[in-house]
């Protein structure tokens, strides 16, 4: 797949299937956390983290640990940066700041919504909010991060990497 082709096809349903595979199904870690992509559009991305007792930070309340929210935000931030450049190019987190607004509620899933608010040729600046998945949709954490673009390594959507995608429609 040439650069140009990838670029124009980034939001193509086929690419989205590959993205789901890469970020959820075939990834050794994300399979474990059961991250789900909710939506990806240009410079925006959102994902869900289902509640899991293994990720609890405080036994007395059952609220999940800040670290796993950081993990979620870093992942969505990376996906958001890729959507901004419309390319599944490798990138690296330069720095990431988390503000924990309040403890999460036991049993509720976490939603992460991240936007890329500035893009240069070498960096993507993103910010996002993590919410509880409930009617009140209360914010539990804020995140701001900078990603360095085009770091070493091959494109993540190289042909053949997810060879069984064709049959997954």
């Amino acid at each position: 797949m040439s650069d140009k082709e990838t670029q124009s096809n980034f939001f193509d349903p086929k690419v989205m299937i590959m993205m789901h595979k890469m970020f959820a199904e075939s990834h050794p870690g994300f399979q474990e956390y059961r991250f789900e992509i909710i939506d990806v559009s240009e410079g925006k991305a959102s994902m869900r983290l289902p509640y899991n007792e293994r990720f609890v930070g405080d036994r007395s309340t059952g609220s999940i640990h800040g670290g796993i929210i950081t993990l979620l935000m870093d992942t969505v931030g990376g996906l958001c940066a890729m959507s901004a450049i419309q390319k599944m190019a490798p990138l690296a987190t330069l720095d990431l700041r988390m503000d924990y607004l309040r403890p999460t509620t036991k049993g509720l899933n976490i939603l992460a919504e991240v936007e890329c608010y500035h893009l240069t040729s070498s960096a993507a600046f993103v910010r996002g909010i993590a919410y509880e998945e409930s009617e009140a949709k209360e914010a539990v954490a804020h995140m701001a991060a900078a990603f360095m673009l085009n770091t070493k390594g091959p494109d993540l959507l190289e042909p053949g990497r997810f060879s069984n995608v064709e049959g997954q429609k």
């Binding site: 050794p28 640990h65 720095d95 700041r97 390594g153």
Partner: protein, 144 residues
């Protein structure tokens, strides 16, 4: 300083880690060096990989490791009864992490009555920091 005011044995090291289920899940352990310093250890696991192409550890896992280390350090030194609550954390990534074991140590820059400022650094090769984190914790009271 990364020191406890008591000698750490295997049993109380396990006890400290067990106060955070997520730290147990990550398989974090802590040990005391011969000069009394506390070192945190994150063993390599396949699920900690972020970029499967270059086999680098996920930045979010490292941020989690550093946050857990700082929390466990506070539990071991000053806040035995109350779980410290992280207010915020800034993580800076100096270089990418390989698919090997990672170690961390925590410096408590200021221990106040309500707030503790920590600086945590982690490495895979002796003398080469790969990630640093600065965090603020509330201790003793409530944070809601």
């Amino acid at each position: 300083m990364s020191y406890f005011n008591f000698l750490l044995d295997e049993k109380n090291a396990k006890g400290i880690v067990s106060s955070i289920p997520y730290a147990e899940y990550l398989n974090i352990s802590l040990q005391q060096t011969i000069n009394g310093e506390i070192i945190f250890h994150l063993p390599f696991a396949e699920k900690n990989i972020g970029n499967p192409v270059i086999r680098a550890l996920h930045g979010g896992i490292l941020a989690s490791f550093l946050e857990c280390s700082a929390t466990l350090m506070i539990i071991g030194t000053v806040s035995h009864d109350h779980l410290p609550k992280c207010v915020n954390q800034t993580t800076e990534y100096l270089s990418s992490a390989k698919d090997v074991d990672t170690y961390a140590k925590v410096k408590m820059n200021r221990v106040g009555r309500r707030v503790i400022h920590t600086m945590t650094t982690c490495w895979q090769e002796e003398g080469k920091s790969i990630v640093n984190a600065h965090a603020r914790f509330f201790v003793g009271g409530t944070h809601a």
